[in-house]
């Protein structure tokens, strides 16, 4: 049975909200990484000691969530709905195929591992 990896880049202050929403729909785990995001939002300028400079990277949070294929769409929709502020820089969601998954503690595989 099929398993998917969902990668999402969102605004840091949305993390808690998204996590709660996802737990709500039964997601039981994820990996969260601090990243520097580059995209259309980037490029605003800052002043430091009188010198203007372009900020190319904005802080984002990356979520990596592995779920049963059947849940993938709902997860994507939930993230999209919760992370949305309608302002530029809300982020992206990508879905990839996962060949196999395993829980280290028990050795369970695929959907049981999640």
């Amino acid at each position: 049975m099929q398993v998917k990896l969902i990668i999402a880049a969102i605004k840091p202050f949305k993390l808690e909200e998204v996590r709660e929403a996802l737990t709500g729909i039964g997601v039981r785990g994820m990996m969260v990484t601090e990243i520097k995001g580059f995209g259309s939002q980037s490029g605003h300028t800052e002043i430091y000691r009188g010198a203007e400079y372009a900020v190319n990277f904005v802080p984002k949070v990356k979520l990596e969530i592995v779920v049963a294929g059947s849940m993938a769409d709902e997860v994507v929709r939930t993230i999209a709905a919760t992370a949305k502020t309608d302002k530029i820089g809300d982020g992206k969601i990508f879905v990839l195929d996962v060949e196999s998954a395993m829980r280290v503690r028990t050795g369970e595989t695929d959907a049981d591992a999640l």
């Binding site: 601090e34 430091y48 000691r49 009188g50 010198a51 400079y53």
Partner: protein, 443 residues
């Protein structure tokens, strides 16, 4: 040898039992009317001295906070190193070269080179003491700390790209030769003091000198890779503003010793009252330098810039250093405030000139130092603008040229800059193999 409390108390007791003994001593030893001033002034130098010593920590924290995390270990190493070498050189050469007494080689211009500092014998008798001044030990201790401050200025400007050893060699020459020679012109009773130049605690003699030496280095060394790319300034934000702020507060505190101790006397009503006035003025100037930068960055850039505020406070301190006594508190207010203004406008100016001053030490110590030396004339009637400018120019020309020569020689002899890869990867890993914050992932 440390007497132990027990014996002392015994002694005290006996003294009580045999008052005659006490009296005997009183007859022998001179009373406080004679020795009091000596004791108080010596104490002033000791307390002032440890406060100025503390400034070494201030410079270290300020600079460690304003460099990028990949260069922090190196910056710390330079600061500990420069203070230590300065301490040795000032003993070996500097102190007597700066205060030649009547040992001038060229009268009023150059003192003796091979005259190592020696202190009074242990348990000095009142008869052998300079009762109108203070102990040589305390004087040496106090003066020594000033030269260290000069060297610290250089380390900040040249941070993030200069090699450790050439830098330390320059420090050796600066603290052993350059600073003491030029210092002797004024504080050693040389030609500038004869000419009536006035620089109470060293806006020029200490701070500008450090600034000139650093400026020469910055020109020879060139800016950090990528600082001025395709006609633009690319800021390289300091890695730890909490440290930078701590460093500034440390310097602020130490400055009370720096200026207050420079009264060089504390044993009379007049002197201790003057020291009080100096403390109050020094604090006022620092506060106003900070406020000026705070308001100005808000107005000019639309945002308060903490690093400018910190520089502003320091510029206020440097500005009042040439004359912390004569001005009223209101005088300290505007003199210090102008110091803060100078910083806000000259920091970007240096960038336009592609002179890469990592911590803003040239605006703070050189430009504000010049301003402070000029400002002396407003409250000190003995000072004339002509002699003040003479002094400023004399110190500038001598220090800048001499430093330039030394930097060029060092560059030729061993090279000043780390390799491009070392600079990009950071001096900590490349040169020292030791990160300052190894546990934290860098963003």
């Amino acid at each position: 040898m440390k007497l132990n409390k027990y014996l002392l108390v015994a002694a005290a007791a006996s003294a009580v039992l045999v008052p005659s003994l006490g009296l005997a001593q009183d007859e022998a030893a001179p009373g406080f009317d004679e020795i009091g001033p000596y004791i108080m002034t010596t104490l002033l130098f000791l307390v002032g001295g440890f406060l100025v010593m503390w400034m070494a920590a201030g410079f270290a924290m300020l600079e460690a906070g304003l460099v990028r995390s990949k260069n922090v270990t190196m910056q710390l190493t330079k600061n500990v190193g420069l203070f230590s070498f300065a301490a040795i050189m000032y003993w070996l050469v500097g102190f007597n070269l700066m205060y030649p007494g009547d040992g001038w080689i060229i009268a009023g211009w150059v003192g003796p080179f091979f005259s190592i500092t020696s202190l009074e014998p242990v348990g000095l008798g009142a008869a052998d003491a300079a009762l109108d001044y203070a102990s040589v030990g305390s004087d040496f201790f106090f003066q020594l700390m000033f030269v260290a401050a000069t060297a610290s200025i250089v380390s900040g400007v040249l941070a993030e790209r200069i090699k450790l050893w050439p830098f330390l060699i320059f420090v050796v020459v600066l603290t052993g030769i350059l600073y003491p020679i030029s210092g002797s012109w004024q504080w050693g009773g040389g030609w500038l003091s004869e000419a009536g130049f006035s620089d109470f605690a060293g806006s020029t003699i200490v701070h500008s000198v450090g600034g000139w030496a650093a400026l020469a280095g910055a020109i020879i060394l060139g800016p950090r890779i990528g600082k001025y790319r395709d006609g633009q300034v690319h800021p390289m934000p300091g890695s730890n503003l909490a440290l930078a702020t701590l460093g500034t507060f440390i310097l602020w505190l130490g400055w009370f010793g720096f200026n207050g101790g420079s009264q060089l006397a504390a044993g009379t009503v007049g002197d201790i009252t003057d020291v009080s006035r100096i403390f109050a003025n020094t604090n006022m100037a620092a506060a106003c330098g900070a406020v000026a930068a705070l308001i100005l960055t808000q107005v000019v850039y639309g945002k308060v810039d903490l690093t400018m505020v910190l520089n502003g406070a320091l510029a206020g301190l440097v500005s009042i250093t040439a004359e912390p006594l004569a001005p009223t508190l209101f005088g300290a207010l505007w003199i210090g405030a102008i110091g803060g203004v100078i910083v806000v406008f000259t920091v970007p100016m240096l960038d336009k000139l592609k002179i890469d001053d990592v911590v803003g030490a040239i605006p703070v110590h050189l430009f504000a130092g010049i301003w402070g030396t000029i400002a002396v004339v407003f409250y000190n009637s003995d000072a004339s603008i002509v002699t003040q400018v003479t002094g400023i120019v004399a110190y500038g020309v001598f220090t800048f040229v001499a430093s330039l020569v030394i930097w060029i020689i060092l560059k030729g002899a061993m090279g000043l800059r780390v390799s491009e890869e070392a600079e990009v990867n950071g001096l900590d890993v490349a040169e020292l193999g030791m990160e300052a914050y190894p546990d934290f992932t860098k963003g």
